[in-house]
């Protein structure tokens, strides 16, 4: 039957993709493998941001701080309590989950951009008060974390540690996908509509909102913990509020509703300074120093342009174009869109709520 052959085809596609991802380090030098690891760390963290902002519609300007929290907790537990790195990661994820439900409390009372400001204030408190705590950062602003070990595996090599990060990323991806396509995802979508529009729903907001924040924070903590193992250290400067703002901005540009955005957003976040050095017209016209100065300028301009022309994000727009090019008749529309609701959460669900507002942009 077509349906089960489609399912098989999809399984095979997934298997091939995963295999390709797993084999990627073989093609990379050690340095580029390290960069790939950094990309995976941020891609994993951004999954959490997609969940809270894209799916649940709660803007979060404290996501980098939650990563830092995971990193610091891991390093602190290993250093202060002498426990195994992996156990510390697990505990850090749990701690992240709990912290998420606490910092998510303001969301029960306020919505929209006001919430964004509150999360920014929370982020500042993390930066200035929580991270410098002696237990967390050792009193010198930085916690060193030894590269963890697994008996029999050479995790000291970035190529091998990459596999660990890939596993974590895939697990988080699968979790987020399941949430998205399941009942919880539908509730999240309804909440997003409620918050950004004038619709009302009979959904018990509290539980689901807190769940969203907890999950998102746990994912960020996981990413931060593994990132600390990658870098060998986490300092009070590694995950400041400016990084949180950058993460949200880049993710919105890519399209906060799509689960594929985190990967591209992470690539941009990690590689953009270096990448721009090689972008064709620039190296010929400017020196390396000058290019670096232009990076924020170019990022800003891209941000503005992308938002004007593709407000639902680059990934859904490009994905829709690609699909149009390659699609034949399909029995159903298998898009990674949210069940119900508009194409993307950051779409017309505006405060006005008039019945005739136009729906712009294709489905994600």
């Amino acid at each position: 039957m077509t349906a089960s052959r489609q399912k098989l085809a999809r399984l095979v596609a997934v298997a091939v993709a995963v295999a390709a991802a797993a084999l990627l380090p073989l093609l990379l030098s050690q340095y580029r493998a390290f960069t790939a690891c950094q990309v995976l760390v941020f891609a994993t963290a951004l999954m959490g941001l997609t969940l809270i902002t894209g799916m649940l519609g709660q803007p979060s300007l404290m996501h980098a701080e939650l990563m830092g929290f995971g990193g610091f907790m891991t390093g602190a537990m290993v250093a202060n309590m002498g426990i195994n790195f992996w156990l510390a990661v697990l505990l850090a994820v749990v701690a992240g989950y709990l912290v998420g439900s606490v910092v998510g409390l303001p969301a029960l009372r306020i919505r929209g951009l006001a919430l964004a400001v509150v999360t920014l204030a929370i982020a500042r408190v993390f930066d200035a008060l929580v991270f410098p705590l002696r237990w967390l950062s050792g009193g010198v602003g930085g916690r060193s974390v030894e590269r963890p070990t697994i008996p029999g595996l050479n995790l000291g090599s970035d190529r091998v540690y990459y596999e660990v990060l890939l596993v974590a990323f895939l697990v988080v991806l699968a979790v987020v996908l399941s949430v998205k396509r399941g009942r919880i995802g539908r509730v999240f979508g309804a909440i997003r509509e409620t918050d950004w529009g004038s619709a009302s729903s009979g959904v018990p907001l509290t539980r689901y909102k807190l769940l969203g924040f907890s999950l998102s924070a746990a994912i960020a903590a996981l990413a931060g913990a593994l990132g600390a193992g990658l870098d060998g250290s986490v300092t009070t400067q590694t995950y400041p509020w400016t990084k949180s703002v950058t993460l949200l901005a880049i993710l919105t540009v890519m399209g906060s509703s799509s689960v594929w955005s985190p990967l591209f957003a992470a690539i941009f976040v990690v590689l953009s300074p270096a990448g721009l050095e090689h972008l064709p017209p620039l190296p010929q016209l400017f020196s390396k120093e000058q290019i670096v100065q232009f990076v924020p300028l170019i990022s800003g301009v891209s941000l503005v342009l992308v938002m004007i022309f593709t407000p639902q994000g680059l990934v859904p727009t490009i994905g829709a174009r690609l699909r149009k090019l390659t699609s034949r008749n399909r029995s159903r529309d298998d898009v990674p869109g949210t069940p119900g609701g508009p194409a993307s959460p950051m779409e017309p669900g505006e405060a006005v709520g008039t019945p005739t507002h136009e729906r712009v942009g294709g489905r994600a």
Binding site: G112, V117, A128, L297, S299, V301, S302, I308, E350, V352
Partner: protein
């Protein structure tokens, strides 16, 4: 800690609070009309101050003229931002527009860094003459007094404007319901432009007045403006008097408590506490404003 410090620290806190309040004006004006949180607010102030520096210090123009030119420039900048990059997004979700302002933050900040040097020291122009006033236990400068006066006057003037004038009422109407406002004959486009021009002018005034104190570089003003955001939040991002009050409270509590408690990040903690306090009060402006709009 000595009790004789409380009054001087309170006075210092009022000075600091007036800086926050001044910064909060432009944020509220723009949000009140367009429901957009302008993250580029500090940057607009900063680049206006830089322009004033370029004209008034590097090119030795009259300081008053330099300041006015810089303010005029900011009006133009604000207008352009709204006209070309926010208006095309009408009807889209607010977060999209906020990301646009973030983009502008990057553009303006990096432009200023390229043109004038990101961290090299720049001599800000001084609109207010040097000199201090002796108060119990502490001297405050004329510039501090000017900031306090300007913040107070602006708050009163703007609040009156929004409440009593036709344009002010129109701006509030546009925020509530764009379609209905149109039906009523309000020129929504013009109203939005006005809001952005006004907000940017307020940003420029903040930047030029504060840069002698805060440092004329590409990031200091942005950091300060975070506290302005917190103060504005207390008023639901729409109430000017509440923002002013919150800014004052914030400044005073930060200042006085720093005499008692030497804790890193105390200022940020207090800002957060002020916000939380607003959240748990059932009837607060913050709650009312948010409940109504949903954004």
């Amino acid at each position: 800690m000595h009790a004789d410090l409380i009054l001087p620290l309170t006075i210092v806190g009022i000075v600091t609070g007036s800086m926050y309040a001044l910064g909060a004006m432009g944020i509220v004006v723009i949000y009140k009309t367009t429901r957009v949180l302008n993250f580029a607010h500090g940057a607009i102030g900063m680049i206006s101050a830089f322009l004033a520096y370029q004209l008034g210090y590097l090119w030795s123009m009259n300081v008053g003229i330099a300041a006015l030119s810089a303010i005029a420039f900011s009006a133009l900048l604000g207008f352009s931002i709204e006209r070309f990059t926010i208006r095309p997004l009408e009807g889209k979700a607010p977060l999209i527009k906020v990301v646009v302002t973030l983009g502008w933050l990057l553009i303006i900040t990096s432009f200023a860094g390229i043109k004038w040097g990101a961290s090299a020291y720049h001599v800000p122009i001084k609109l207010v003459p040097e000199g201090t006033v002796g108060l119990p236990g502490v001297h405050i400068s004329y510039a501090d007094l000017a900031t306090l006066a300007v913040a107070g006057v602006l708050t009163a003037a703007l609040a009156t404007f929004f409440r009593l004038t036709r344009l002010g009422v129109a701006m509030r109407a546009v925020a509530d319901d764009v379609s209905s406002a149109r039906i009523l004959g309000i020129r929504v486009d013009r109203v939005n432009s006005t809001a952005w021009i006004l907000g940017s002018v307020l940003a420029a005034i903040t930047g030029i007045l504060l840069s002698p104190k805060v440092a004329l570089d590409t990031y200091s003003l942005t950091l300060l403006v975070i506290f302005s955001f917190a103060a504005a939040l207390y008023g639901g991002l729409v109430s000017l008097p509440k923002a002013f009050a919150a800014a004052m409270v914030l400044g005073v509590v930060q200042s006085v408590s720093s005499g008692f408690l030497h804790l890193a990040g105390l200022a940020d903690l207090i800002a957060l506490a002020v916000i939380i306090f607003a959240l748990v009060q059932p009837g607060s402006a913050l709650m009312r404003a948010v409940a109504k709009e949903g954004a």
